[in-house]
Symmetry: D2
Subunit: 298 residues, 4 copies
């Protein structure tokens, strides 16, 4: 089938390749003209000759609303827009309603798999109406891994992004779990070959996983991660997971611990710990480290 | 080769089966005479005719010291004892020294794999001297999964149990991660088929793992876990992990969150929350729930 | 001066008493006619004869918007509305703008002190324009404790409620701190008289505080809190604090721990711990506690 | 009465001053001859002429055992040794037994109050036998604040240090609570005068406390703590509190959060966050910050 695909970056570009490899036609648009198949969205839509037209949007979050709005002016009733980005789920109902007022269908689709998706397939979580999902199913089948797993129609509009959000929230805490264990092994000086130990865990253990495989890969490249700084970004979905949990009174101590650890990792100095040091100094006369001293040490 | 195996319970019994299937001779002892091959440890040792004799101990922690002591009186210099239990690592050096004073060799070996080890193989983490590990290697090879993973000689005496301890500590936090995500999905009422969503995550996602496979298996048996009470034991290794981390000033917020969640799950009522309720009542006149009222409600 | 006061409940009623005791005239309105001075808001406004009229709103959050809207139709340019409720701060700018479009001034005011405020005075945190705050200052002075503390003009619209929100977020974690310590002392069976120990801490220690005084009061009434269930509500401000922190990438592990502990305290059974128990059962054959068994035990 | 006091540092020196001001005779010993009243422990003991002799030990933890041992050789049956240091409680029973075998009495005494104790009095928590506590009571009365609070005989040997340990564990979490709130206020840019806001909270609020007074003092000296580095030591009692809690299966999420925050504050770079960054890079191709790059930025 034909697919319009907007956004040909790291994720979108690989997805186009995988979909084409499955025999479908992809017309891609990107703001970078060197990798774009068309000059603008109007040309992209005009190149989609089969009906209903299906357009997959894979753009950074700040570009989403303008693209949706532009597409709403170019598409016709019965056409389908899929948002495959890491979009906050609670805007999906509004997007579906806005597009629905023009007869355009909307599917939100969480996509997992990272740079490995091209080869292994992408896990997909969709939200929307079953009849619209059925139309796009050949594309979903091209993207997903072979076999019985990797695709779910999770519910109505927003359910796909919600499922992806929770997936990522869990991912934060799982990564934190491995990271804490690694730091403890590295620090303890009891286990003599930490990379070999992690490598041995890839079969037979309770903790074997794809993330463990990747962790071992990282240690094989740099056994003590001496080249990497302990600085971790967060893409937003961990924050939204904790927000949603708080809204529903669901305790998420491990996920929030993972999120806060990332926050701390990005602070050049911790304001809270300045205050703790200041209070210790006030009551106990405990020495504080001066910022000036810190600079001298470098 | 020949192996003496002490403790033929859930773990030991399956291990004996797997070792025998690989062509080795296992003489097993258990306090339950119905499953024991010999009447006591003396008979077990006398049945081991090849030298050096190798005895694997797979007993509950409270039985470990007496068994080690009895074996020390029965074995000869050059013989090898392996402790495969979930034993606290910091006693291993002392055990090795005690046995070493009699010329008996000691290996501590963490074993992962649970009830699935019989079929899939057990992951093994050993601590001890390389020459002793080499002697036992045919047994390790029989127990471990086929392929390149599943076995590590992690370091000197204690390193095997230390590695297993950290493995289990990470396991606690990983389980907590999935559990928090599942609770959020169940509570949110956005995703309509939660078990199908977890099932879909088994391929293509960043969070795919063996624990996820097991989680799906549990949901297939009982989709909302209505039959299971939210009560989780801890075997000790999570506690030791946090103890070790604190001793080394390693922050482990996710692992400790998982541990504390288990502690709370076993409290019929939370003393700490009684105190929070009492303070709220004192300053704000906020109503407290009376224990008596609670009983009335049942 | 004259003050209209809407909402004469636990907080509002005591505040009216304290303001009157300072020599001001309070015209109070409440939906409960037995304690209301006027039959409706229109009569309340008509009874305020001095200009500019000042109306303090002290109502539950769900009643706030209707009251603001009604007052907007009754008051005149230059009049002042104060919201003293536990209102989410990020709506204050909108309220100020809406009222400002009619020339009506708005002040948000966080109020702390609970049932003790009548006697000790209330701590007040205001947000709004300095000239409006100055008009209401005699009322603030009547409400606040004597002395130099207990009042701050914290910033523009929303700053008062923001300050109160953070105050309450810290309060959650401080209460959790005392509660954890109390549970540990109660459980440990080392200290023989726990209430006496807390009582002794009221002078000389680093942890002496008003909350500690209240905690001791609670223990004097019920030394082991046997009459109170470990069930703690949350008023919303703890949640908003964590929301705000996440939005700003500020790590708040202690405040979120306190919030999650309250969430858990209200769950009859923990879904997350059901899942942990289910996974342990899947990999280790560990026994789970059946819900049915639990019922049998009662 | 007469008191021998060993250790005349920041704490011991002030305590000597306060005890003398109450009319008692203090013979002090310190390894620093410039501040010591005697040349060695033997001279100190010989100067104590009243019976039973009472010696208060106020030394760093690593010096405790040698001092106890030396005193055991110098004192006579019926004499009393008090350990007032921040000593781990679980060694007290052994110390009491060792001294008891020589007829020497032992009291463990937690001391709170920091540099303010000289002026305000010290809060004291004792463990030991009532008859021994009674002998030392005049000294306790001299040290404690005036009034009914500030002293407790908490139980048998170890109970004093246990109470002090829990006190300090709570203190960690309370300090963390204020620190998190301060960081949020500082970061949010909503409240315009953060020091004034904290200052206003000193009366009327639920969170008023002595630590809040000290916090305000610190902000008055340095309103944004620009001179202080976010680096916080821990004296050991927070660690022991979490250890004890884990041993007793008491959940302490806020106290452990405070402890871990201090650990993190002392790490030049976080190993765990290196691993998180490495995993993100492996699955998502997310950029990592190179250690080299970090150096370039300075």
């Amino acid at each position: 089938m034909q697919l319009g695909l907007i956004g040909l970056g790291k994720m979108g570009g690989n997805m186009a390749t995988r979909i084409r490899a499955a025999g479908h036609e992809v017309i891609g648009y990107d703001t970078n003209p060197e990798i774009s198949d068309v000059k603008d969205l109007a040309e992209l839509v005009s190149r989609l000759t089969d009906g209903p037209r299906v357009v997959w949007v894979m753009v950074p979050v700040q570009a989403l609303e303008p693209v949706i709005k532009d597409l709403a002016g170019l598409l016709a009733p019965g056409d389908i827009i899929i948002d495959g980005g890491n979009t906050r789920w609670d805007g999906d109902a509004g997007r579906a309603e806005f597009l629905g007022s023009k007869g355009i269908k909307f599917i939100d689709c969480g996509v997992s798999g990272g740079v490995w998706g091209l080869e292994n397939g992408y896990a997909l979580m969709c939200g929307g109406d079953a009849e619209d999902v059925a139309v796009v199913q050949p594309i979903f089948d091209a993207l997903k891994p072979p076999g019985e797993f990797g695709f779910v129609h999770a519910g109505s509009h927003g359910a796909g992004h919600f499922a992806k959000m929770v997936h990522n929230g869990m991912e934060y805490a799982i990564m934190q779990a491995y990271a804490e264990g690694w730091e403890l092994l590295e620090t303890a000086d009891v286990v003599t070959d930490v990379p070999a130990t992690f490598n041995s865990w890839r079969e037979g253990t309770v903790i074997r996983s794809w993330l463990l495989d990747l962790l071992v890969r990282a240690l094989q490249e740099d056994p003590q991660l001496t080249e990497i700084r302990g600085y971790a970004e967060d893409s937003g979905e961990g924050r939204w997971t904790v927000d949603a949990a708080i809204d529903l009174a669901v305790p998420v101590p491990a996920i929030s611990a993972a999120l806060f650890a990332r926050f701390v990792s990005r602070q050049p100095d911790s304001p809270a710990m300045k205050m703790v040091a200041a209070m210790r100094n006030q009551f106990g006369g405990h020495a504080v480290q001066k910022e000036a001293a810190q600079i001298d040490e470098i």
